[in-house]
């Protein structure tokens, strides 16, 4: 709702913000309060590729106050089939910078922190700690385990998307559960982490990449878009407080399926309370954990080539 002349807009939001965000601020359950929450929130998107580009667009459009972008790659022609924040003119530019440029043009009021270093076990905690929420928009298994362990250690929700060929998956790990409406005395806990679901990684030969298997552009768009939506829902409190997995099959009928997920496992090596715990993230070799090098991981800078 536009500010009346007799009421000062909340200092954090300008009159122009009211004009920009009006269409969502009038939503039941969202309101000025929701917009302020977004404004004060910080989200880091790891991966400015097929998933990261659509996610970043809608996070910026929605008015997230601070957005971090972590990607050590540079823009290539083969990206443009799906990485819609990049342009032909920016081929050769680091993706984090290209994406930052694009979202600043859409919303100059967002503070954008592009990071062109690779995310590694050595720097993940430091890079991600300043943010409220993390988006996994990466494309390889070792980084997904790293992000899950880091999110658990930092106590942040991890909105994780994945897409390959004609399929996509979406899940928020370490989800803050909601209180039992019946008013249980216990603090609501957290949902499962990636290791709760997949304590052992799949064998390397099962782990294809988009480079080898291909992916339809719009499939990454749908998942990345839904990641931004989940982030906005979590930050404004409008989310379902139970852990679930969304499966998308672009050629399937029905295309979407929602799955009720297990609770956090007490014996989870990363987030559980019993049993053996993973070692310090900084000392973990995620590549080795996932079965050793794969050629495209060398190209990705995950390992020394």
């Amino acid at each position: 709702m536009p500010a009346s002349p007799f009421v000062e807009p909340t200092p954090q939001l300008s009159l122009e913000d009211y004009r920009r965000y009006g269409r969502q601020m009038i939503l039941d359950g969202f309101g000025l309060g929701g917009q302020i929450k977004l404004h004060q929130a910080s989200v880091v998107v790891v991966g400015a590729g097929g998933l990261g580009c659509p996610a970043l667009q809608y996070l910026a459009a929605a008015g997230i106050g601070t957005i971090g972008i972590v990607d050590h790659d540079t823009v290539e022609m083969s990206n443009l089939q799906r990485q819609v924040l990049h342009t032909e003119a920016r081929v050769g530019v680091p993706k984090a910078l290209s994406a930052a440029e694009a979202i600043k043009q859409l919303n100059s009021r967002v503070k954008v922190n592009p990071v062109t270093d690779a995310l590694t076990a050595a720097n993940a905690l430091e890079l991600l700690a300043p943010y409220d929420l993390i988006l996994d928009c990466t494309d390889n298994l070792p980084t997904r385990y790293l992000l899950s362990d880091t999110a658990v250690r930092l106590g942040k929700p991890l909105v994780s998307g994945a897409a390959q060929q004609f399929e996509g998956q979406l899940c928020t790990y370490n989800l803050p559960l909601k209180s039992d409406p019946a008013g249980s005395a216990e603090e609501p806990g957290k949902g499962p982490c990636f290791r709760c679901l997949f304590p052992k990684p799949p064998a390397p030969e099962m782990a294809g990449s988009c480079e080898e298997l291909g992916v339809l552009g719009a499939v990454t768009g749908v998942i990345g878009n839904l990641q931004a939506l989940e982030a906005v829902k979590i930050l404004t409190g409008l989310y379902d407080g139970k852990p679930s997995l969304l499966m998308f099959s672009a050629l399937g009928m029905p295309p979407f399926r929602s799955v009720k997920l297990r609770s956090r496992r007490a014996a989870c090596p990363a987030c559980g309370v019993e049993g053996e715990k993973v070692g310090k993230i900084e000392e973990t070799d995620y590549v080795a954990f996932c079965g050793g090098e794969r050629p495209d991981w060398v190209a990705r800078g995950l390992v020394e080539g």
Binding site: A163, Q164, M206, G208, S209
Partner: protein, 117 residues
């Protein structure tokens, strides 16, 4: 011999092991050996039997539908790492995993976790 019908779905690449077909409708015995051995039925001999469960189903699929590379489906008595099993849109961990007793008309989904982006 009593049987049950099930809808089986494969996804996330697993379908490649099953003739590249995502959806299968199968009929399996309602009671099976406790050992989950797929070559026998309780009527065949005096083997102790149990109502058919997901563990048996996995072996049945491996022995009857899988066209190649069984080790990419079943490993150490359960699905190999990276595969999630769903029972009627619910994580099998909430339903007893391998010990979930299958009912006629159940839909069981075997899906591999994706990690591309």
């Amino acid at each position: 011999m009593a049987t049950i019908s099930l809808n089986i779905e494969f996804g996330g690449g697993l379908e490649l092991l099953f003739s590249n077909q995502r959806s299968h409708r199968i009929t399996i015995p309602a009671n099976v050996p406790v050992s989950s051995a797929t070559g026998q039925t309780p009527e065949d001999s005096d083997v102790p039997s149990k109502p058919v469960d997901i563990t048996y189903l996995m072996y049945w699929l491996r022995d009857n539908l899988l066209k190649e590379r069984a080790e990419l489906f079943v490993e150490n008595g359960t699905v190999r790492p990276g595969v999630l099993v769903l029972v009627n849109d619910t994580d099998w961990e909430l339903e007893g995993e391998g010990e979930y007793q299958l009912k006629d008309g159940d839909e069981i989904v075997f899906i591999s976790t994706l990690h591309g982006g």
